[in-house]
């Protein structure tokens, strides 16, 4: 009887309601907090992509459907002579703002003795006389490759959507080189 009286007292009711209120309010705030931590991520089309250059047939360039991957399978290195593929593939900024890009080494596999160098140059234009903005120089000393570090960032403005930046590839094999192959993967980072 006493317990019943105690439970039915106003203070007791208020304390009970206060505690349950605190519990509900805290749990709700926690749920809302977890909701606010979820960000909405939407996919966006790329503004910077690759285009085939004038020398794409010589270098046997193939682009992925979204033009974000370019593969060159026809590059050759001649013994004791450097060979330049001036304009096999281009970088194009089709966006409305300028982007920064850089060349970054990703992986290298294959022969380590028959080559002298493989260079990737980012040109400010697509002609042979276009100045070089950045370069990645892979050099081989006859026993191993020296992998370069990533280039500095280079701004590619959007003032003219048709402006394109060629990636020139220069190769050279050692004197009396034997048949060999090397696979180099580089990335064009965009920010």
């Amino acid at each position: 009887m006493e317990i019943r009286k105690l439970v039915s007292r106003k203070e007791m009711k208020l304390v009970t309601l206060l505690l349950t209120s605190l519990l509900i309010a805290t749990a709700s705030a926690a749920v809302y907090y977890s909701l606010s931590m979820q960000s909405t991520i939407t996919t966006a089309t790329t503004s910077v992509w690759f285009e085939e250059g004038a020398d794409n047939a010589t270098a046997v360039v193939s682009l992925s459907p979204d033009k974000t991957v370019a593969t060159m399978t026809g590059l050759k290195a001649y013994p004791n002579a450097s060979y330049t593929y001036t304009d096999p593939v281009r970088v194009r900024n089709n966006g409305s703002v300028a982007y920064d890009i850089r060349l970054t080494p990703v992986s290298l596999s294959g022969n380590t003795t028959e080559f002298v160098f493989v260079k990737f140059l980012l040109r400010n234009g697509t002609s042979e006389s276009s100045p070089t903005l950045a370069s990645l120089n892979y050099t081989c000393d006859g026993s191993d490759w020296t992998v370069p570090s990533a280039t500095d960032w280079v701004s590619i403005p959007a003032t003219n959507p048709d402006t394109q930046w060629a990636i020139t590839v220069i190769t050279k094999a050692k004197d009396n080189a034997q048949s060999a192959s090397v696979t180099i993967e580089i990335a064009v980072d965009v920010r």
Partner: protein, 174 residues
């Protein structure tokens, strides 16, 4: 050359539509405590009914979280806003109950000053803030004036509620 990396677009909003549900839950909990404090004037079950209403809101938040990707922004806004309207409707209903049914004019006036008016202004503030962030324009001056008026009304109401003879004293001085 094998890879190109790009950042993806990330949209972050300051206020989520579920904020209105959170606000409504707090309103229901407040009503529950206030009706418990004034239990002689209300049916005994009312504080518990408001607790259940707040619990429904909590469940509503949980469901909203699970189906966040399915429900669109508009749909989320409208069902949360509807829940807020229900909570505000209850505040006004209690105000009317005290004034019309119970004929407790002083308490009804105090309720409108301490509870109804400030909570409605706060709700208007957040709804307008949400609509502003969503791109709809709302004059900022209205919000600021509303908050100042709300504060003044609330202050006066609290003073009168705590010492009802204050008004008579002020009249007596004149």
């Amino acid at each position: 050359m094998k890879r190109q990396s790009r950042l993806r677009k990330v949209d972050l909003e300051m206020i989520l539509p579920e904020f209105f549900a959170l606000l409504s839950i707090d309103v229901f909990l407040l009503l529950s405590l206030l009706t418990c404090l004034l239990e002689e004037r209300f049916p005994k079950a009312i504080p518990y009914i408001y607790q259940i209403a707040a619990l429904i809101g909590f469940g509503h938040l949980l469901v909203s979280r699970e189906f966040l990707s399915i429900f669109g922004e508009d749909m989320r806004f409208w069902y949360n806003f509807f829940y807020l309207l229900v909570a505000l409707g209850n505040i006004i209903a209690i105000n009317l109950y005290l004034a019309v049914e119970k004929k407790m004019w002083t308490l009804a006036k105090a309720w409108s000053g301490i509870v109804t008016f400030p909570i409605i202004v706060i709700s208007v503030f957040f709804v307008s803030n949400y609509s502003y962030l969503q791109g709809a324009e709302f004059p900022a001056l209205i919000m600021q004036v509303g908050l100042v008026v709300s504060t003044i009304v609330m202050g006066v109401s609290i003073s009168l509620f705590l010492s009802p003879d204050l008004l008579n004293k002020l009249k007596g001085r004149r």
